[in-house]
Amino acid sequence: MGEIPAIETERVTKSFGSTHALSGLNLTVPQGGILGLLGPNGAGKTTAVRVLTTLLRPDAGQARVLGFDVVRQAAEVRHYIGLTGQYAALDDYLTGRANLVMIGQLGRLGRSQARRRACDLLERFDLTQAAGRAVKTYSGGMRRRLDLAASLIGHPEVLFLDEPTTGLDPNSRAVMWEIIRELAAEGTTLLLTTQYLEEADQLASQVAVIDAGRVVAEGTPDQLKGKVGEDRIAVQLAPGSDLAAAVAVVQAQTTGPVDADPAQLLVTAPMPARDGITTDVVRALDAAGVRVSDVTLRRPSLDDAFMMLTGHRAAPEPAPAGGDAGREAATEQGGAAA
């Protein structure tokens, strides 16, 4: 063990008609690793997951899970993986418990083994109360938890989570994060896709940013954040305010170099990770007699990350003039197809 990567793809391509969903995807995840696959809609995240879980045949390239080829040894791969897709794949008319037992039996657990395992997982995911109700009565968060439980029933060694928290309320998202962290702590290899930088940061030990079906940046969350830039505080002065005084105050409150824009009366600085920093800055400015019209925090969003890492915007909203527009449109269609 340890020698064989849990997940490995080499130059995997997949097209849907003229849309290239994956165009040479290279990924490696060691056993026990947690890879966050980060990218906008249409980047190819779901297609990558579907190829790795044997649901889609790649056009070219190789993909292996625990050393088993996803095309030629699909049956072996299926023995070791769990999949939680973007939409809870459950039978709405069965109870939560019956869903788990069914999926356990189809996953090659014996009947009594599947029942015991279902009991454990229901309790583990706080679903015992609802276990006897039809799934269609479940809330969104409960469905996601049951769906995740279903993907764990066969003791997968490699777990694929495709946007596990998209559409969940903050509370349910926090619960899912906690569960995912525990799984990771137990040594399960995880590949999770997400559109949120923060989610990748919270959960993944390794992040791969993908765009137009290939990896454009890789590293630990910290390394990527370093590339993207840090949080900044921006102080917009009222007309006639003393720019130099404002710079002095901001310099005193923050650590890094302060940028001052005399034309716009805008002062910006890297934002230290300290609670109450905004209030401190406002108070200090007030004490110094500097009149301020606005104070904002600027966090690097996924858009910023994309701008930084790919040189173009993540989502092709009204297409900006430029050579990338066509490619972005194609990427978006790829998402629909994937």
């Binding site: 997949k14 849907f16 579907r50 879980t53 044997t54 649901l55 889609l56 045949r57 049956a75 299926r78 023995h79 993986i81 999949l83 897709g85 973007q86 939409y87 809870a88 794949a89 459950l90 039978d91 709405d92 008319y93 069965l94 019956a98 069914m102 999926i103 039996q105 189809l106 996953g107 090659r108 657990l109 014996g110 083994q113 454990d120 997982l121 309790e123 583990r124 039809a134 279903a150 993907s151 764990l152 066969g154 003791h155 997968p156 060694e157 777990l159 525990e182 799984l183 137990e186 040594g187 399960t188």
Partner: protein
């Protein structure tokens, strides 16, 4: 909190069962799953229970009096053979709808990511639908007995009639399975089923002898598998069977015709459904 191990727990069933045993187990699990819905929501059975009862009552007491049978006999007795055929064909749209729903909900993707036997999904669904067909057949026979239909032949003949009917019904669900693989929404499957099913049932001798139809329509009705099934059932039950005097081959040999149609349906649509299922898999 119990210490439910989430990963790296004992590997699946130590006993290495053969592929065939797993296939049977998978089919049983999936068929049971489809049937469990009926237990929870018996109203899903309306198309094989209430609907045939309404049709029987409608034809027995409203239209029947206006439909003369060449060669005479009781229309009520004539009706049940046709009703049996209609009840069986009526389940095919349900097969399609159920498969489209599972496809679009992602449930089939989940099955396909498990070490489940490849062919178990379609087999489980069609077998569950065969069970609903048995229920529908019992309902039709029951309401038939209530309106005066009787079996005038031997037990063996009657068993052969029911057996042929269910064989044809099972073969027909594979047509539904193909529709399910080809259509994208449950609504489309429902409508497509209706569009195919309505002419199939009514351009036949299920309710009205073909002798009264325009000459150009008669061959179509006579070669319609529904006519063969209705005629075979009537002949085996010893009920009035005006089709016996029609010269078309299927009307002269309705039992053989039903066997033939069933074989053709199975030979064409079962592999096609499996092929379409696999192609969906390849993307």
């Amino acid at each position: 909190m119990t210490a439910a191990t989430i990963s790296h727990a004992p590997r699946r069933s130590a006993s290495r069962r053969g592929n065939l045993r797993w296939l049977i187990s998978d089919v049983a699990v999936l068929a049971k799953r489809s049937l469990a819905r009926i237990a929870r929501e018996p109203e899903t059975l309306m198309d094989v229970t209430i609907q045939p009862i309404l049709f029987v009552l409608l034809f027995a007491f409203v239209f029947g009096g206006a439909i003369p049978l060449p060669g005479g006999g009781s229309y009520h007795e004539y009706l049940i053979g046709g009703m049996l055929a209609m009840g069986l064909a009526a389940t095919a749209p349900g097969t399609a709808v159920a498969l489209v729903t599972d496809m679009s909900s992602g449930l089939i993707d989940r099955f396909r990511s498990l070490p489940t036997s490849r062919s178990a999904v379609l087999a489980g669904r069609t077998i569950a639908d065969l069970v609903t067909q048995v229920i529908g057949t019992v309902v039709v026979a029951g309401v038939g007995l209530a309106i005066g239909w009787r079996i005038h032949s031997s037990v063996a003949d009657a068993a052969a009639a029911f057996g042929l009917a269910l064989l044809f019904g099972y073969a027909f669900t594979w047509l539904g399975a193909c529709l399910g693989m080809m259509l994208r929404s449950p609504e489309a499957a429902q409508q497509m089923g209706f569009v195919l099913f309505l002419p199939l049932t009514f351009v036949s001798n299920a309710f009205v002898p073909t002798q009264g139809m325009p000459g150009w329509l008669q061959p179509i009705a006579e070669w319609n598998p529904m006519s063969a099934l209705a005629a075979a059932a009537r002949s085996l039950f010893g009920n009035p069977n005006p089709a016996a005097s029609v010269q078309a081959w299927p009307m002269q040999h309705p039992e053989l015709a039903v066997l033939g149609w069933s074989a053709v349906l199975l030979a064409v649509f079962a592999p096609l459904a499996v092929h379409l299922y696999r192609r969906k898999a390849a993307g």
